[in-house]
């Protein structure tokens, strides 16, 4: 019993840290759970993915609640795009459970982590308020344009939506990555809305948050009913990541400036390299649990 309680507490503490680091770096709280569980607890990667995707639902619903109330997230845009992320997530979970050699998942995870920190170095969304954007035909048909209260400009700002087609394709890819790796893949959703659809950055990030829970649910059910969500791991992870993400977002409001965020991004780069190294070792047939 002592070992069982000890490990429970260790997983909880690790999840709190993962949540803090993930959200301080501006990524989701769940992005480091799979690396932590596989690298430091030697949990099989499918179990780590199962626990992670459950925690992603908890953190995203928790924070989406606030943004929806403040009417920053564009629920119509989110609901339309969720069509593509959920289908992608099903494909991703299917791929994940079919890949029998986990080496590929380690490698893809490492690469995705590295891509995720890129926006921190070359910041996307430098333009606070995109101008002269015209609604594209689909956006016009679905009347996706909306307005929100821009805090920095301190006024209501109207915006249009373009590039719905390319944005949707990118969302499908984001969904695949979410289902395959058990992450929220918020970075990819934000890239789709910010770069392709030219939404204001604040609207992109909050709408992405609104979408993450539904995207995660599409693959979480598949993992759950296949017995890949182990309650001994999933319970402390869900609670820990939620606490960590809450603490992290509070801290993030206090620390201004990019230095801190880049410091946390560096931690993620180290973890990414560890995942890549493990993947390469697995390809070499050396096994991970030496």
């Amino acid at each position: 019993m002592f070992d069982l309680v000890l490990y429970l507490i260790l997983i909880l503490v690790a999840s709190v840290f993962a949540g803090i680091i993930g959200s301080m770096a501006g990524l989701g709280g769940g992005v480091l759970i799979v690396p932590f569980l596989t690298l430091y607890f030697h949990v099989p990667i499918y179990l780590a993915i199962g626990a992670s995707i459950v925690s992603v639902i908890a953190t995203s619903s928790g924070s989406a609640s606030a943004y929806v109330k403040d009417k920053i997230s564009n629920i119509r845009v989110g609901t339309f795009l969720v069509l593509f992320t959920t289908t992608g997530a099903i494909v991703g979970a299917f791929l994940g459970l079919r890949i029998k050699n986990p080496a590929a998942i380690y490698l893809i995870f490492g690469i995705v982590l590295l891509i995720s920190v890129l926006p921190l170095i070359k910041k996307i969304g430098e333009v606070n308020q995109p101008v002269n954007i015209k609604n594209d035909p689909i956006a016009e048909r679905l009347s996706l344009q909306s307005h929100y209260h821009n805090l920095e400009l301190d006024k209501e700002v109207n915006y249009n939506v373009s590039g719905v087609k390319s944005g949707s394709v990118m969302m499908f890819v984001a969904g695949i990555l979410s289902g395959l790796l058990g992450i929220g893949s918020g970075v990819f959703k934000v890239i789709a809305m910010d770069l392709f659809m030219k939404l204001p950055i604040k609207v992109s990030t909050t709408t992405s948050n609104f979408m993450i829970g539904m995207t995660a649910a599409a693959s979480a059910g598949i993992y759950f009913f296949n017995g890949d969500v182990n309650p001994y791991i999933a319970a402390p992870v869900a609670i820990g990541v939620l606490i960590g993400a809450l603490v992290g977002s509070r801290l993030l409001m206090k620390v201004r400036g990019r230095t801190v965020r880049i410091l946390f991004a560096a931690v993620i780069v180290v973890v990414a390299i560890e995942m890549l190294r493990s993947g390469v070792l697995l390809v070499g047939g050396m096994g991970l649990h030496l």
Partner: protein
Amino acid sequence: MSTGKERSFEKEKEEEEKISSKVLSFYLIWSVIISLSVIVIGLITYLATDSTGYLTVPVDILLRSYGPNTAVFPHYLGTITYGVLKFKSFAIIQLGVLLLILSPFGRIFIQVLIYARERNRTFVVIAATVFAVLLFSLYLSKYIH
């Protein structure tokens, strides 16, 4: 130029959207609170009874137990319900996890109702399709392993 009638229509729409956001926001936060509470109750039961309610294994095996045939924890609706009725700790945790996983299903269903109330036919169809995709994922889960 908008007539007075159109303006009052716009205002009405704004009001409706405000209520919808409130309903969604309320649902989002309470779905997390409730499902996590159930998980915590399960954990407390586990620590208090010193039993998972299922096959007892050493921690290193427990950390690697998974798959459709595992006897270490339940992962089907029937077995979870049975376990919860018997007050088995791992079944209670799984119930909380399942509530969490299913909460977005309820969220999109509420959106279908909201759009129906707003008479936004296009978005009733879109939200209903998302709901169908989510249900389809559960159906597919049987065929994946």
